[in-house]
């Protein structure tokens, strides 16, 4: 073996070793979470912890599904709440942002530029600064301690990014297509649904994913609005409440946390390639 080949092999090996280290560092905590979810409590507090449970058990998951571990209900209740809120948010946000982005991309009107700048700036206002006034406002109109209030806030919060993303998509749909359809005698709604919509659909998918994930993970507004209204808790608040209760039931807590994480992970693995591309495109373009 020549020294050049050896050094290339060495280089490849060290690179791969480094790669493995990176993969382990990122995956180990997640594995630990899942492992703990399957461990009986003796193993969780054992003086000789190991990654793989010696006697894996479904007990923690059962406790979480049965609701006795958290004391406020079965985990499915909170899945239902999160699902209801995220789906409704996606629907409302998609509809409103589609309308707005078509207006911005297709029409020329006086405040168009200022509207776009406003969209940029508004994305930078921190939620923690607004939460006090937001809570007081929604409290006054009786929309706290219930899910509809959350949906309204999440949908509105998703608008700036969604409109910004969608308008690019709308703008790239060639106007000639629409004009050709118009000359062929198509009506406005037909043009909208048959021509514009299918071409903008990928953009809608992207913004829907964005609104879904943001709503699914959202914490401060749900925490503040829902307060002690246990039956309306979304998953992140449920996990936090569960964890806060003390009594350190780490097995069930990790089980609940794992269940909360699974949809996101599955989803991520499916859209992995597209996601990476989109992320990068967004960041590189600024």
């Amino acid at each position: 073996m020549s020294s050049a080949t050896r050094s290339r092999r060495l280089r490849a090996m060290s690179l791969n070793a480094a790669a493995v280290v990176v993969a382990v560092v990122t995956l180990f905590p997640i594995a630990w979470m899942i492992a703990t979810a399957f461990k009986p409590s003796q193993e969780i507090y054992s003086l000789t912890p190991s990654l793989l449970p010696a006697h894996p058990t479904l007990g923690n998951f059962r406790a979480v599904i049965g609701g006795q571990a958290s004391g406020i209900g079965t985990v499915w209740l909170f899945f239902r709440n999160s699902l209801a809120v995220t789906l409704a948010t996606v629907l409302v946000a998609s509809l409103i942002s589609l309308l707005a982005s078509v207006a911005v991309a297709r029409f020329r009107f006086r405040f168009r530029a200022s509207f776009l700048i406003m969209l940029l700036i508004v994305q930078m206002i921190p939620g923690q600064a607004l939460i006090i006034a937001l809570f007081l406002d929604f409290s006054r109109i009786n929309l706290v301690q219930s899910l509809p209030g959350l949906i309204l806030v999440y949908a509105a919060q998703a608008l700036p990014v969604s409109i910004w993303m969608l308008r690019n998509f709308v703008a790239t749909v060639p106007r000639e297509l629409e004009e050709a359809a118009a000359t062929d005698g198509a009506s406005a709604p037909t043009i909208f649904w048959k021509i514009l919509f299918p071409l903008v659909a990928p953009g809608l998918v992207a913004t829907s994913i964005f609104s879904f994930i943001t709503a699914y993970n959202e914490f401060i507004v749900a925490l503040t609005f829902l307060g002690q209204q246990h039956s309306d808790y979304t998953l992140p608040i449920y996990v936090t409440y569960f964890f806060n209760r003390g009594g350190a039931q780490w097995g069930p807590i990790m089980a609940a946390s794992t269940m909360y994480t699974i949809p996101v992970v599955i989803f991520f693995l499916i859209v992995r390639r597209r996601l990476v591309g989109g992320l990068v495109a967004g960041a590189v373009k600024g």
């Binding site: 809570f135 007081l136 409290s139 006054r140 009786n142 706290v144 301690q145 307060g227 002690q228």
Partner: protein, 446 residues
């Protein structure tokens, strides 16, 4: 004929007027014109059948005593203790969903009242026939800036549990009323019953330790112009602190195992504490409230028939040391549209008779000096001591806004007492705790 009919008419009128005056004993604010459809009462904790029964009886009385409110429905909502502040705040910020009457932990009252949640009821209390016999210490707690915002409902104080048979055998004819007597009696009991300890002094027991501070004439903290000044290091307070620590350190009437413990044992534990030892007979005197009966009987009923109580003695007697009276108050919600009717209901819920039956069922006491000194409790050896103690209460500064931080979160007094019992230098430890306490009370952090 005319004369007798007139006499009947006048008599009837007088009777009606008399009856009206009788039921208007609360105040002139009974508004006969508008009877509210319902009154909402917020109770703290969880619903218990005995309390539901009690409340039904009260509502029946209310309808009878105030016939103008006969059609008014009384609805009771149960608020878990942990949720109460959030629920009150939400009712205030939304302006809706608030009650007409709310129960409050008496340590909550000054804070809630200063946020404008409760209606001022000074004149109503003054006009109330039972108002004058409210225990002064508890009424003072409910008065902020000269206005009364709530009335005490029931409270519990700690005293000293002891056994009649042990006192008799040791030749102690009357319970001690000074510190010197207390220690002497403890030593006597230990001599008569070798293998026991005389008086349990857990270090994590703020609510008992304060009685010794107050019993020496000291204060934990005083308010001066809106600012708290901690006084743990005043000579009087230090005397109380030293006395309590010395129960273990020099007098040896309390065992070392109670260091770091609450009266129930190690924090979070369910056994191994002074309550268990008293029930089993290895501890001769035990500081706690009448509500401890349930947990004591659960451990052992061997000596239950001999259990009795006396108030925690002050340094030099003859009155007991002031005891912290934890308990509940009743307040009228400031935003309630039915304040007059609400107050009337409060007077029924908190009539000395009703308050007594209610409190007794839970091992607490009503907050009227008349009820405490009346014959009701004096016949029971167990309750008479506590009843006497319940007449001498102090609440401040345990009702201050930041007390929970100082005691529950930062455990300033328990930490100090534990260090002292483990031999830390006295003055330095007390001074450190004092500075810390003052900072936390004033700013919410150290």
């Amino acid at each position: 004929m005319n004369l007798s009919r007139a006499a009947v008419a006048i008599g009837a009128a007088v009777a009606v007027a008399g009856a009206a005056a009788g039921c208007g004993s609360s105040s002139s604010s009974s508004n006969a014109s508008a009877a509210p459809a319902k009154l909402v009462v917020w109770r703290m904790g969880a619903s218990v059948p005995s309390q539901v029964t009690w409340m039904n009886g009260v509502v029946a009385q209310f309808h009878k005593q105030f016939p103008q409110f006969k059609t008014t429905k009384v609805v009771v909502d149960w608020i878990p203790w942990g949720n109460r502040v959030t629920d009150w705040t939400n009712a205030l910020t939304s302006g809706k969903g608030g009650p007409d009457i709310t129960e409050l932990g008496n340590t909550d009252t000054p804070g809630i009242a200063s946020q404008g949640a409760l209606a001022g009821i000074s004149s109503q209390v003054k006009a109330w026939s039972s108002g004058s016999s409210i225990i002064p210490g508890n009424l003072a707690n409910d008065t902020v800036g000269g206005t009364t915002f709530a009335v005490p409902w029931f409270g519990g104080v700690r005293g000293v549990w002891y056994r009649k048979d042990q006192f008799a055998k040791a030749g102690i004819t009357a319970p001690p009323t000074t510190w010197a007597q207390l220690v002497a009696d403890a030593k006597l009991l230990m001599k008569k019953y070798p293998g026991t300890f005389g008086l349990g002094a857990p270090s994590d027991y703020t609510n008992a330790i304060v009685s010794f501070i107050w019993g020496a004439g000291g204060q934990v903290a005083v308010q001066q112009g809106g600012q708290w000044k901690a006084e743990l290091n005043s000579p009087a307070s230090e005397a109380g602190i030293k006395f309590y620590a010395d129960l273990f350190l020099t007098q040896h009437v309390s065992p070392s195992k109670y260091i770091g413990q609450t009266e129930l044992g190690a924090p979070g534990a369910t056994s191994g504490g002074s309550d268990e030892d008293f029930a089993k007979g290895t501890l001769d005197m035990y500081v706690d409230g009448p509500w401890a009966k349930a947990s004591l009987t659960a451990v052992s009923t061997k000596y239950a028939s001999q259990w009795a109580s006396f108030p925690i003695p002050s340094q030099n007697g003859p009155n007991p040391a002031p005891a912290f009276a934890g308990g509940s108050d009743l307040g009228v919600w400031a935003k309630s549209p039915n304040q007059a009717a609400a107050w009337d209901l409060v007077t029924v819920m908190d009539s000395p008779a009703n308050a007594t039956t209610f409190a007794n069922a839970q091992g607490f006491f009503p907050e009227f000096t008349t009820a405490l000194s009346g014959g009701g409790y004096s016949s029971s050896p167990l309750l008479s001591g506590f009843a006497k103690a319940a007449g001498f209460t102090q609440i401040s500064p345990l009702n201050s806004k930041n007390w929970a931080t100082a005691d529950a979160t930062d455990a300033i007094i328990p930490t100090m007492m534990k260090a002292l019992m483990q031999g830390a230098p006295f003055a330095a430890t007390v001074n450190k705790a004092n500075t810390e306490l003052q900072n936390v009370l004033n700013t919410g952090h150290e």
